[in-house]
Chain length 344, copies 2
Amino acid sequence: MSEQLPPASRATIKDVAREAGVSVTTVSHALNGKGTASEATRQRVLAVADRLAYRAHPMARGLRRGRTGVLGLDMRPLDAIGSYIPEGVDYFVRFAGAAAVTALDHGLGLMLVPDLTRPDIPQSAHGVDGYVIGDPTRDDPVLTRLLDAAVPVVTVGRDPGRPEFTDWVGPDDTHETERVLELLRSRGARRVAFLAGTDDNAWNVDAERAYRAWARRHRAPARVLHVPESAGEDGGRDAARRLLGGKRQRPDAIYCQTGRHAAGVLAEARRLGVAVPGDLLLAAGSDAQQTRLAIPAITALDLAPEASGKAAVELLIARLNGETAAGPVVLPAYLHIRVSTGES
Amino acid sequence: MSEQLPPASRATIKDVAREAGVSVTTVSHALNGKGTASEATRQRVLAVADRLAYRAHPMARGLRRGRTGVLGLDMRPLDAIGSYIPEGVDYFVRFAGAAAVTALDHGLGLMLVPDLTRPDIPQSAHGVDGYVIGDPTRDDPVLTRLLDAAVPVVTVGRDPGRPEFTDWVGPDDTHETERVLELLRSRGARRVAFLAGTDDNAWNVDAERAYRAWARRHRAPARVLHVPESAGEDGGRDAARRLLGGKRQRPDAIYCQTGRHAAGVLAEARRLGVAVPGDLLLAAGSDAQQTRLAIPAITALDLAPEASGKAAVELLIARLNGETAAGPVVLPAYLHIRVSTGES
DNA sequence: GCCACAACACAAAACGTTTTGGAAGGGGAC
DNA sequence: GTCCCCTTCCAAAACGTTTTGTGTTGTGGC
């Protein structure tokens, strides 16, 4: 009666132990380089494990070690939009892609999770080692819950209502906003209108504050419109109608936070016979397909989502390893200067 | 000596049992609606669990149940490209987004995993309940490994070298290709050139075969160029130079598999003074930002990645539940008829 | 008063690891 | 011969669940 039947399921540590004629303890030690096994036994165990294509069961290991090897990613603006697939917005994809690849480089997985405060979220979302929260809103409830539970967490962009929380990465929104406004000014704009989103996160808050301060500094009129991020290009069109078609004096430049809004403004301007960049300069605070491919192409801030994704995951991993890594990681944005802001 | 110190870590089932004055068995039963507990005890347990904010530890549960509650997604073309963030291609994003949302709807998580045949992939990639493999290549090694290990797996698009494997979802590439070619023909095209990708997957293989058969049927010249998917718009430009600038008779229509190639062809045609759609009709086998936003907009097949992502995850879940769901799930594509193919 | 049978509750085993705390054996020093 | 230490290995506990099997009651029929 030969025992040649190959096991239908995967090999366990017991199989390896039996096959190698040692205890499971020794197998575990040999594989993890922990114990005091002799070199001979170690090699024998390694050989057997390799032959059986043994891989430690991730859950069993996770249960024992208290680590799962998976990171969670929650993009808050996507929770807000209600769709995880906003048309043409590649910021989130580029971010998530870079984060996933960085995690993979460190031997970790990355899982997209939904709003953790909703009641019916999958069990697995709770089983991750730590979280990256993208663009938290003011006093973000998800962040609150995680911090209360003492779960390691890193955000992208600060929480506007939580100045003491410094484990975040992202651009210096104030500084970058000023850069764009200065560009518009250097190209002759004197009446710049600002189109912000409605999400109450640092990206919107800091940009608007920077805009108002900048306008005051230059004794220029400040005009701010709020358009929901989810309104997309249609939202931009509506805003453009109000800004360009009203009785009030027309702005000679419009700065939109999102690329989609900017694309909508551009389309409406064309329809109204307002030439860009001839009669109106246009810029966006976030690069997207719409800004790159529009005609004319729209000047936009590239918020370097790849760099953010990488930095966020690395900061989180440092936290997980107990390192007291440095507070905020500020990343430079890149300003793509395109046709919509005219010639210098 | 009161025991009032709140536990620093999360509550376990033992805590709930102690607090409710019952055994852990009863707690488990009450929470999972399994056993024969009386309504009174059940309610009491539920109340305590709620008060302690108890959630079953996902790994412990997974270990016991043999299920992790996480699905793995491997997009093979992305492995091939080497970048997980191809510029302007939203097929993968839309697919992954829909897949993730569908998984969430079923209480499961979705994890992006890299090429499983590489040596150094994270443990967690092995801990998922099943896999979705996007656009497998001929005799795909990843698919081979999973099937050998008897791991549940579903693909998007069939494996060209594995006709017996029917657990796939996706469009009928042959039929959809013919649809586009017929459109071109109905708009007057008689010499249609075909620009395919180089990935050896069903999408390319079936489309090229359909093209050749269609040309034969109509006694039209067949001209096929192969351009790597990763070459993007530049690849399209190069191909257009060869097709439009050479000595051979010019095609009066070009059908490109990818939207990026088509955008490149369009740009080069414009540079060469070939009018689209006046002198040349143009269509793409995959919708993308580039086809939608190009001027003129390019007619393209929308492969309905959202529907595919949803169907793939649902088929996989059916498999996981032991249902002998029906073989391939064929999904209709939508043909966006745009300016690049002229007026009817 | 006995028996059968619900109804309810629980102890213990199991899932596959890692880690703790020895134990066995051998060799050298005294 | 005794003691001690080093090397090498292992049994068992632990991680937090779910599930199986086994009591305990209490109730009603005869």
